[in-house]
């Protein structure tokens, strides 16, 4: 494997919880992301899954320095972004782009598609002014939209088309890494398939690295090389996508996989129902955050936070009972 393009070392995003009416006091901490380490190689697609509130979107924002990183480091192409100056950060962001979930909220309704796509080119002075038009047309072709649509406004497009525009905008600066936060969750299945095919094609043709965040495991399995499963701010399992989803090792991943509505009657019968819901990140359980819902939990699970242990070729999982279950 080539040198990683992006490395996360023990990244933490902690938000203070304050209370009090006149005198605000810090009364707690929300550990949205609590010690995540990851590496992403050029041309690789890493899927990040987990339930709402597990910190996957916060992690995505932390990578782009859109969320306050309170500990650890984010290293992109050899440069530590957490200590970078504003100028260095702006330069780095050329290579680091994001696609958001809601294509209805992430495009400026007052800008034509041409303006939306030309703006990053102007900000970063990527091409001379007389070549902007050609570049924008080229971007439209890349995402499969007719260049004659350039002078329309976002409200004239469907959800799938808007997501294509958002992808074109992310591609404008020829990034090396795209962070896509639930890019297909708001779309219908037939449109979702179009966008997934487009993203896979771009990764293949342009050698992009893609961090793909979703809650739909079948989508993640389809598009990703590797997958990371998050629970309450930490990664609990990481490994090759097909292995992790077809043969999950961590009890949480097992439950998550079994909860996917299945087309196959046999696998439906083995559904593992988790009691309750994910605990609050303000007051996480002691030790392994999953132990109160885990069917395999023992006393020692509440003793300390389990480290990521080797769980097969290129695989790790954070469970102390890994060998026993």
């Amino acid at each position: 494997m080539s040198a990683p393009l992006l490395e996360l070392h023990d990244v933490r995003v902690h938000y203070p919880v304050e209370s009090g009416f006149i005198i605000r006091r810090r009364t707690g901490t929300v550990k949205a992301v609590d010690g995540v380490s990851l590496a992403l190689a050029p041309g690789e697609v890493l899927g990040l899954v987990g339930e709402s509130g597990c910190g996957k979107s916060t992690l995505a924002r932390a990578i782009l320095q859109l969320a306050p990183v309170t500990g650890g480091s984010v290293v992109y192409a050899g440069r530590n972004l957490t200590t970078a100056t504003a100028g260095e950060l702006r330069a780095a962001r050329r290579g680091l782009q994001m696609v958001f979930q809601d294509p209805f909220a992430s495009l400026n309704p007052r800008m034509t598609i041409f303006d939306t796509l030309a703006e990053p080119l102007a900000v970063h002075r990527v091409v001379p002014r007389d070549q902007v038009g050609a570049r924008v047309t080229d971007l439209m072709n890349k995402v499969g939209l007719a260049p004659r649509l350039l002078h329309k406004y976002p409200h004239e497009f469907s959800g799938g088309q808007r997501q294509r525009i958002a992808i074109a905008r992310a591609l404008a600066l020829e990034p090396r890494l795209i962070v896509a936060d639930e890019p297909v969750s708001a779309l219908d299945v037939s449109i979702q398939a179009q966008i997934l095919n487009l993203l896979s094609g771009l990764v293949r043709d342009m050698g992009l690295a893609l961090l793909f965040i979703a809650h739909d495991l079948s989508v993640v399995k389809h598009i990703s090389d590797r997958v990371a499963v998050m629970y309450l701010g930490r990664i609990v399992e990481l490994g090759p996508a097909v292995d992790v989803i077809e043969r999950p090792r961590h009890p949480y991943t097992r439950a998550l996989v079994s909860a996917i509505p299945s087309f196959d009657a046999a696998s439906r019968r083995q559904r593992i129902l988790l009691p309750g819901e994910p605990p609050s990140p303000i007051d996480p359980p002691r030790g392994c955050a999953f132990h109160p819902r885990c069917p395999y939990a023992q006393e020692r699970c509440s003793a300390g936070v389990p480290p990521l242990l080797a769980a097969g070729p290129d695989r790790v999982a954070a469970c102390v009972r890994l060998e026993e279950i």
Partner: protein
Amino acid sequence: MPLLEVTDLRTSFHTRTGVYRAVDGVSFSVDRGETIGIVGESGSGKSVTCASLLGLVPQPPGRIKGGPVRFDGTDLLALGSTGLRRIRGRRIGMVFQDPMTSLNPYLRISDQLIEPLLIHEKITRPAALERAQKMLEAVGISDAARRLHAYPHEFSGGMRQRVMIAMALIARPELLIADEPTTALDVTVQAQILELLQKLRRESALAIIFVTHDLGVVSGLCDRVLVMYAGRIVESAPVEMLFHAPRHPYTRALQRSIPALQPKGRALHAIPGMPPDLSRPIAGCPFAPRCEFATDRCRSETPRLVEIAPGHAHACLRAQAGEIPSPLP
């Protein structure tokens, strides 16, 4: 006699930009104890169909034609608002998609749960509260006695959806209409809710209309599935048949666009184009512009839903004529 029999339901919205035919001639029936799924993409008319049955379409701009919609012999469309109120919430329960906005934030859960009982039954408040607590326990809310008096904001999304289900079922309805009840929830919570619905169905002869865009959910829960496109039913079949031998090109294309049913690495089948604009009259089959099998005949002649095997009907002229080969294994 089926519990619910919908015949040629047509719902349109009269707006400044034209007449938008949201539901365009939909017929189906639901037996007691049967669970039917209605699937389709956004704008295919699934939610408007449900809202029309219950008299929840605002008129104007909505206008309901066609029918009758017979529920246990009574035509719901001919009932006035007073008559509908006697059925809604008592004999037909409803659950909507968004658990965050469908509860009143100012009222305690207890008040909202017992409201249908106080309206529809001769019951004292203490007795109603007791039933509310039992219902909360039945939908899997722990510590129901204490939680009963909480406010909606004290509940998470999954718990609110359970409260909604409890509210819909508290008057022991014969039919439950659930419009995307698990779409806003995480898969683990969705699994809990689906398991709950199956249990409730086994324990009483509850009939369920389950509206969703997720074919995976349908396959685990429903007996029969209706596939809607552009306000019409294009295919109707027992659930196993729909997944293993879909006949309508739209159903087949949908099936091929689902990542879970495709081998990894293979490009997903993407249906080109977009659903038609329902404010314009549609000549012929509404799916024809996106269909790989469409001929000139499809663009001029409107297909009818024809039963091709017991319980299996579809509206594709070419498949009906045997011109489209059966799906590959």
